[in-house]
Amino acid sequence: MNSEDIKSTIKTFILTEYLPGEDPAALTDTTPLMTTGILDSIAVLKVVTFLENQFGIVIQPHEAVVENLNTLSDIERFIVSKKA
């Protein structure tokens, strides 16, 4: 799975779960998710579970932070680093 596929998978999940009805084009790779409240602390837990199940990684509590999960690019980079 390449970077674009990872981002696309996550984007679809976020649009379906948290932003139903939103224009997919409005959610870009750099749209802030945590700092703008789209992903609140409870939503982050759901995203973490999704990422673990989808990409076969294990995420630690201290990794569920804004540096890793704030944008689609951040999440993609985080997953790539975890898989590496």
Partner: protein, 878 residues
Amino acid sequence: MTTVVPAVEQAVPRLSASYLSRSAQFLAILVQFALIVVAIDRWQLEGQLLVRLMWLALAGFVMHHFLPRRFRLPFFAMLSLLAVITGVGHLGPNVGGAWLTGKITTSGLLYYLVPGLAVIGIGLGLIGICHLPIRFGARVGLVAVAGAGLAFLRAHSQWFPDVTEMWVVLGSMFMFRLLVYLYDLRHQTAPFSLSRAISYFFLLPNVCFPLFPVVDYKTFCSTYYNEDWPRVYQTGLKWMFRGIFQLLLYRTVYEYAPLDVSKLTSALDAAGFMLGMFLLYLRVSGTFHLIVGLLHMFGFNLPETHHRYYLATSFTDFWRRINIYWKDFVMKLFFYPTHFKLRKMGTFWAMSVATIVTFLATWLLHSWQWFWIRGKPLFDWKDFSFWMILAVLVLVTAIYETTRGRRRALTPSRFTVRARLMFGLQASVVFCGMCILWAYWSCQSWAEFQSLMDAACKPTWREIAIIFVVLALVCLCGMLWGQSSRETSEGRGTQASGAPFHFWRSTVAVTVGSICLLAGPSMATWTLPATKDLIARLHGDVLNARDLALQRRGYYEELDLSRMDDWRCHDAKEPEGWNAGRKLFYRERSDFLMKEIVPSVSTVLGGAPVTSNRLGMRDREYQKLKPPNTYRIVLFGVSHDVGTGVKDDQTYENLVEDRLNRHCPDTHYARYEILNMSTGADCVLQMLLRLEQIGFDLHPDAAMISVGAVDQQFLVEYLRKCLTRGIDPPRSYRKFLDGIAKEAGVNGRMPDAAIERRLFRHVPEIHEWAFRRFAQQCTQRGIHPLVIYRPAPMDFGGVEPACRSETVRLARAAGLEVIDLSPAFDSVADRNRLIVAKWDEHTSALGHRLLADKLYEGLVPLLFPASSIQQVSRLQKP
């Protein structure tokens, strides 16, 4: 035709324009910062220590800004240490000046330095343990042992009387931040260095604010100058201004909201109490704004605190907004670790257990905070139940949001009017719920909360309409500003969130606002003289009447150290033997008088010798039978009139008597006597009965009843005692008092607070009845009745004017003459001179002298009018 300008020549004007623009921005920032410091100074916000710190910060800010970037953090660390040394040791310019001029010795100066140096030494020791080259677990263990040792010493702070004040500051700096620091050290989420550690733990404003936001170490490092400096500084200034505004708003609420449960008489009062209690939190949010704003001035672009928390649209939203620093702290250390450990149980159970664990930790950590600040642990069922109720509310909302989804949008414009209306309605429901919950947390006992509910349970339609209007206003504000896009304090970046920033617009707003704060009071008192009292009260940071009377407040209010001095004064233990004679001097009675002075006793009351005469009065010896050619006055009052705290010959009553005998205002009389029949804590009913049962037998020519603001409280307490002890009133009083009890719906089996609260609304009615009876009884016997209004030496909370006007009105309505002594103390600027001691608020000898002057001035024309006319006519002769 175009001119080709060489690139270098184009760059020079561009550079100089940019330089000028940056200089203008810095100058504007400096002016605003100075205005804010002056405003804090002028309004005396949070005490003198903050004022000194703000001046230090202003000077430090200028130097810090012009330093090369690599020197800025070490400079901030040094400045913070300087603030600790000067702040904890109360080392002001006066001490430094005294040392320089040789007024105090070097060892004397060191005495001031010791507490601050102790904080720094212990702090550096704790930081050192965190970085020991041993296993991380061992370091945590050592920190825990050191923490336990320090907590033990904190609990026995009396062992080190010279450094008592350091514990609060030390605790405030390390009790929570050490946990965050260790967590980030464990996971290496941020860079570590000595200057970073010192800056983080000894944060500049911390020395003034024991209640301090739990700044996240990683955020602290990652936000340091993460945006252009004008934006960082200007944001800080804006938040500091907001903080000042909130603190002034807090003072208004504190002074004017009905915060005394015992005095609530209607559902509207109860609603006002709940609202007032919730609004008192403005003090915390105001100080947090000041703190975070000040840190911005040194490049720490920390997240906004307390973001429109009164407009939260759900309980989870409230939890996120009210103190995002705390929320992130407990999420990081408790919620996520618990949830991640338990997630195999399923989201519902993991979230439920993690939420309960988080709120339990919040409760325990609040007790921990209380311990460090107040020196005693706080394990109270009320605090526990408050946090658990909030936990359940947050959990239910979180589960609802997880299952049903929370409305989210990529842009605010996506929200329709209907969605906004929902925001508004939710905001008003949450606001209402939090007002009730906060009032529950702030009430001192279950009985007090019951009393509050009792007052609230029978609203009139008018009251319901007023409450509805208030909630509609909250709804409207919620519609306009309720939507919040903020979730976390981590990685804040206004550029990232796409918010536009207008430097000059913000500059104008802060500058104009600060100037208004500075010039406003003078302008307001000039144009509207009636606002003088309001502004004077907002200028002082004193306890209101309720708090001084009851010494009780909510969690955050009682942690307020800046007013600890007031508390210390009030709590200050009186010296041994100060009131040693109280039990000897007074004795209880089983009848409606309830107590009396024991005849012929010499003892000590209020630190002063006190003697009672054969007739059971704190006075000179008199014959029961009035001697011939004597004008006799009987005086009834409370402990102020007894003269508690002053010598026998210093009471205002004796001073007036001496003066009458010296000047002999009426030639018909050779001698004047004032018999002081005052008894401590007597209410107007006891005074009246004392006159009827004892005073009339002394054949007085005049009778004076002395009433003050405190009489209202004495009256309801007295009637409550009569009810609960089953003491029957005299026959002639019974019908009236039974009627009052029936109308108030009180009986002896009810909680004390409920009886007093219900009776409070009948105080004017009882006063009116008592005054009328006093007038009637005296007139029937040919005695001249008089009412004295005696001011309290200190008007805490400004209750005096209202009480005075009400008492005077009722007395005059009963046909009585009133001598208003209120202006007696006007000439004394320092009211502390009017009280006996800081632990005893009875009127001092100076106060008695002033009262005597005023009373003599008012008494002679009323009792001896002919003499006054003679005096006037003598004055008019050439």
